[in-house]
Symmetry: C2
Subunit: 290 residues, 2 copies
Amino acid sequence: MADDYQVQSNGGSSDLNSKPLLELYVKASAIDPRRIGADLFCQEFWMELYALYEIGVARVEVKTVNVNSEAFKKNFLGAQPPIMVEEEKGATYTDNREIEGRIFHLAKEFNVPLFEKDPSVEKRIENLYRNFKLFLRSKTENQKVPTPLEDMSAQTRVHYNRVVEQLTGIDQLLADRNSRYLLGNSMTEYDCELMPRLHHIRIIGQSLLSFDIPHNLTHLWNYVLTAYRTAAFIESCPADQDIIRHYKEQLNLFSNQRETLQTPTKTHTIPERVLCDIRNRGLAPDVKVQ
Amino acid sequence: MADDYQVQSNGGSSDLNSKPLLELYVKASAIDPRRIGADLFCQEFWMELYALYEIGVARVEVKTVNVNSEAFKKNFLGAQPPIMVEEEKGATYTDNREIEGRIFHLAKEFNVPLFEKDPSVEKRIENLYRNFKLFLRSKTENQKVPTPLEDMSAQTRVHYNRVVEQLTGIDQLLADRNSRYLLGNSMTEYDCELMPRLHHIRIIGQSLLSFDIPHNLTHLWNYVLTAYRTAAFIESCPADQDIIRHYKEQLNLFSNQRETLQTPTKTHTIPERVLCDIRNRGLAPDVKVQ
């Protein structure tokens, strides 16, 4: 079995018996099964688990699985990643509701504010990714290669406008709150949901849509920068090539092997001009004006 | 798009505008894409939605989708069934947490006791299916054709004993409560979870393991009979052949084409001897002693 999984252990060697060991099975990349794939739920739970690991509440092991391998199919009989296993309790959580339930209880037990509720934040972020997917599908419908952003149909423009409107709304929310994460100075489930989706929007926007998050949304870009400086996000983030491949497959777009042959890279920088704006406004305390 | 889906509508023609229309996309059978497949989460949500439909709270349309079709992939870009769409709200729920959240709110709004909590019931049913899968994997490990139940290794026997022990526990719970469903006289989410799993245990037990739910567990069998008389279960239940095919695929077991060629059947009867016990004890009010 061991050979089928790539293990990344976040567990220390001390206190081995006092902390629960949570194993998270995440979907492998279609390019290289040793790399993590672009499944958003897998990254979301990985970030939440990382938050528990960081403050010493749990040991975490992430295992990358090839869902088409016979070993995986036999072992989990039809269940799909993300799957979480807690061996000492004899528990296998194969459902997002169960996985979140277990993380929720651990967070509650140790007073980690990972699941604080905020309906206004929820409202603001809930349809962003759906609308982005509608925009993506519409713009790539009859397109063989990426075309300029201006070349879009009236229908595509409706979706495009909606995405920009929502991104602007989130930028405004972040401006009003003036905090590092959505709810304050520590990461919550809302960030674990939004950060990976914003990153996908960015990577897929650039590679397939000639689209970028508008550069004037300084607070939103500062939030993206925060993601790129958050260990939970960085650790769990797939390579650009794996993200692009994931969407190309779904859209049935021609894959020119570029992603397959390239050395995997991760875009964790933001445009220079935006970085200047962030510096000038003194938004990120650790980004100093030169 | 319409051609890719098999639609089963539960919506009436009156009150079209006053009730929300919920569309549930469920995984198709691998044998025949027009038939529903054996995905447990799909059946669970279908049963919950049926409960809302039955009392007139929502209109429900179930669409069977071939997840490998280009149309499906393009339309949902990587999301997997169950997927729920509520067009008038512009909402697509691709995550079990979101789907349940929406059904939960509707149930709450209309005072449907679908999500009543009962930790003791939860505890009693939670690991049954996991343990059954361990038993199934263990017993079929080196087996080409089903072997008698007695021919099992010591390791397999551990899993077998655990399954029987849990089934006995649920039988006991049902005997103590003396109610039609787990919590009382109306169906709750616990039944939507347990009924399909018990049915899979029965169908797969018989076809691959020479195993049956012990016949002395009269209350449990009576509960299975209740499932077979519950519209929400019957409507959403896949054919035996589709259930068997699903597990054979995961276990990498030889498929002798029998399931593929057979006319689909649904086992919704229980053993005659058990039915007599139920009658003699007067357990099911509608099963009369002849």
